[in-house]
Amino acid sequence: MKSSSPSRSRHIGNSEAFTAGAAAWLALGFAAAAAAAPVVYRVEPEFTYAEFTVSHIGLSRQRGHFGRTQGTIVLDPEQHSGSIDFVVDATSIDTGWSVRDEFLRGENMFDAAHYPVVRFHSTQLVFDRERLIGVAGELTLRDVTRPVALKVERLECGKEPDGGREGCGAGVATSIKRSDFGMNYAHTLVGDDIDLSFQVTAFRVTP
């Protein structure tokens, strides 16, 4: 701002224009201040996909989804702060084959009867200028909590068509080893490395 002001006054060169320019700067300042307040978003489960991908018998990559998710996202890009809480219902696992779903819900894998919730809680949000690019946090799965780093691959905001709600969509990814969470069954069939991918849609709650 400091470096651009002199060049601006040189170009404009009269006090009337300078006053207009100053008013514009002030207005921008107010807008920035308004934007600086943390904004709260609520995850819309209907448009949110929590997906995992895993190697199967070394021949293909198989995917599964969790149908039920919940979450709250608080973003303050100016202050480089905020928080993300995201919860997945482990019983809502869906791979398109009920036999496999039952196997995955079973005690050898997710043990969803004992641990019905998979939870992520952020500890730090990472920004590049005002763009959220990463999230450090803790993932709790089967009652084991481990640090994970999420990469934010896509973050776009807009409005629903026809003047609807204001929201954001994000593509977020990370990789974990299931053995780190005590999920050690069937290693000859199902890989240890699990790619997690979240396509999250969240609508603004704060006005």
């Binding site: 448009f47 021949l59 293909s60 995917r63 398109g96 068509p161 969509g169």
Partner: protein, 192 residues
């Protein structure tokens, strides 16, 4: 001498032909490990996903001649978006119109090899009664045997991007649901 040479050449040619005929392999797709996934953009900032739980198919490969065919039939009624309300929308006549078009087919007649690996399949996708050419890019083509049942099989992942309007699926264009649809198809197939 000349006659002998001709006979030997013919024998060799026959052997090669026989070898090639024997190299034709037929594979049956394992439906539960071959569920196609589709991805669309929604409202301009949201990404939506869905898949088809049921599909059947046959693949023939002739690695010596570097030829093959692919035929996949997808049950459109098995569509799932992980949300029952969206599922009903997808099944409706605005989108897949599953009552009238219960299947979606892909017929590949040009299998492209890079060495021993399949890297592309060119074919026709029939959806909503409309047939248009589609090229599937094939990655991670690999063959082996199932660790439990020891049956020989191959696996891969095919991808393509299509414009749904080309098949007449034009509802909610352009803002609400994107025209561009990304397809990802994991494949596991048993050798017969």
């Amino acid at each position: 001498m000349t006659r002998l040479l001709v006979a030997a050449t013919m024998a060799l040619a026959l052997a090669i032909t026989a070898g090639r005929a024997a190299a034709q392999e037929t594979y049956t797709i394992d439906p539960v490990h071959s569920q196609p996934i589709f991805e669309a953009r929604h409202m301009g900032f949201s990404q939506q996903r869905g898949s088809f739980a049921k599909s059947t198919g046959k693949i023939t490969l002739d690695r010596a001649a570097k030829k093959g065919t692919v035929e996949v039939v997808i049950d459109t009624t098995s569509i799932k978006t992980y949300d029952s309300r969206l599922d009903e929308q997808m099944k409706s006549e605005n989108f897949f119109n599953v009552a009238k078009y219960p299947t979606l087919t892909f017929k590949g007649n040009n299998v492209v090899f890079d060495g021993d690996r399949v890297v592309q399949v060119d074919g026709d996708l029939t959806m909503l009664g409309v047939t248009k050419p589609v090229s599937l890019k094939v990655a991670n083509f690999v063959c082996g045997e199932h660790p439990s049942n020891k049956k020989p099989m191959c696996g891969a992942e095919a991808t393509a991007t299509i414009m749904r309007s080309e098949w007449g699926m034009k509802y909610a264009l352009p803002k609400s649901v994107s025209d561009e649809i990304k397809l990802t198809i994991p494949i596991e197939a048993y050798r017969e």
